[in-house]
């Protein structure tokens, strides 16, 4: 995909709003994306200055898989707790947290309870979307909707505004079809069209959903079959940031005004696409585990700088 500098869009050339992701805590800057294209590796342990005109920041965590106890991580509760500890010591308190799904491993009440307790230690509002592991209770998603989806459209999609940014949480893990990928479905797409109708094209948009909304690796199910329809609805907006989980590793892509990012898990890594017989949990040496888990901090500011993103592992490699 060809790089397209944001100046080329002609949208708000002088004072464009953009989302910028920075590292404040932690020991390793893994990716820096300038203009959406990975261009450099950052310094370990550095604290980039926060722009004076920044209005707020938020945190993304993902794939906490509470209840997972296999060799890839015998204690997913401890690593979620370590991630929350990172959030708690951020020098500037985030406005809220996003959790992009797979909160639990098996949708069990005790797993949801433990996740709520551990995540609650951050003392932040948390906006969730479900992963496929959160909707495998007998009632197929009722446990999730009961806890997190009360204010959302069944099975749990919704939108909210913060600081002039429209945040849209989508669900692409229910009613999946044989041989298919993640799926939003016609009803949700119609709701999305409604939600965006009348919104100024200069409104920054953040879309968050569990399974990537671009085709990362369909052979492993890493994509959403009707995401193109959602992206078509977002095409007219000058700044669209898509945050996903599911694949337990960092990936980025730029397509026009849309930047896509997948996040670290807080539980266990998964192999790079096609590098293993299956996408199952990847076992790494215990002392390396926390270098492949992490959190993401996103800074929203008004800027003329190109967009940049960085992610923080729980420990240095």
């Amino acid at each position: 995909m060809a790089r397209r500098d944001r100046d080329d869009t002609g949208a708000n050339p002088d004072r464009r709003q953009a989302l910028e992701c920075m590292v404040w805590a932690g020991t390793g800057v893994v990716w820096t994306v300038s203009g959406g294209v990975p261009c450099s590796l950052g310094l370990l342990g550095s604290k980039p200055a926060m722009a004076a005109d920044s209005s707020f920041s938020f945190v993304q965590i993902s794939d906490s898989h509470i209840g997972f106890e296999k060799p890839a991580n015998p204690n997913a509760r401890a690593t979620l707790s370590a991630a929350i500890d990172k959030v708690k010591v951020l020098p500037v308190k985030p406005a809220f947290m996003l959790h992009t799904g797979d909160i639990t491993h098996l949708s069990k009440p005790v797993e949801f309870d433990d996740a709520t307790q551990l995540i609650g230690a951050a003392d932040l509002d948390v906006h969730y979307v479900p992963g496929e592991h959160d909707v495998i209770d007998e009632a197929r998603g009722e446990a999730y909707v009961d806890r997190y989806g009360k204010a959302a459209k069944d099975p749990g999609y919704y939108a909210f505004d913060h600081g002039g940014v429209r945040f849209i949480g989508l669900v692409n893990v229910v009613n999946l079809q044989a041989g298919g990928l993640g799926q939003l479905g016609g009803e949700q797409l119609a709701w999305l069209a409604d939600n965006l109708a009348g919104l100024s094209a200069s409104t920054p948009i953040v879309v968050f959903a569990h399974i990537p909304l671009w085709s990362v690796y369909p052979a492993w199910g890493w994509g959403t079959q009707d995401s193109e329809q959602a992206l078509a609805l977002l095409q007219r907006f000058g700044s669209v940031t898509v945050l996903n989980g599911h694949i337990h590793q960092l990936m980025q892509k730029v397509e026009g005004n849309v930047t896509f990012h997948t996040a670290y898990s807080t539980a266990f890594p998964q192999p790079q696409p096609g590098s293993a017989p299956s996408p199952g949990p990847q076992v790494v040496p215990a002392e390396k585990l926390r270098s492949v888990l992490g959190i993401r901090t996103v800074l929203f500011k008004t800027t003329s700088e190109p967009l940049a993103i960085t992610d923080t592992p729980l420990s240095a490699p």
């Binding site: 491993h105 098996l106 949708s107 495998i136 999946l176 044989a178 298919g180 990928l181 199910g221 199952g280």
Partner: protein, 111 residues
Amino acid sequence: MRRLLSLVLGLAQLSLAVVLLATSPRAGGQAQVRIDNFSFGPSALSVASGTTVVWENGDDIPHTIVAADASFRSAAIDSEETYSFTFPAAGDYVYFCGLHPFMTGKIIVSP
């Protein structure tokens, strides 16, 4: 003499039972599908009607078994757990994993 007769009769019954089993292969029996590396083995399995198919999950990730025509659906099958379904009628039953729908398989049930 009577004991010998009952033995002969017993043997006759036994061989009849064996013949019945042989002419109706696996009827009422079990067949296995193993899940490893996010795939079903075998991906297509032929059985007689009345057979109970047992899926066993060998992965470190849960899977589910969902019929494409919604005629059966498992709960989450965690590692080394199983799910069973008895196929009462002949037909081709396509199924997939509800969590990872790129995983598909088929049970071919003969009358």
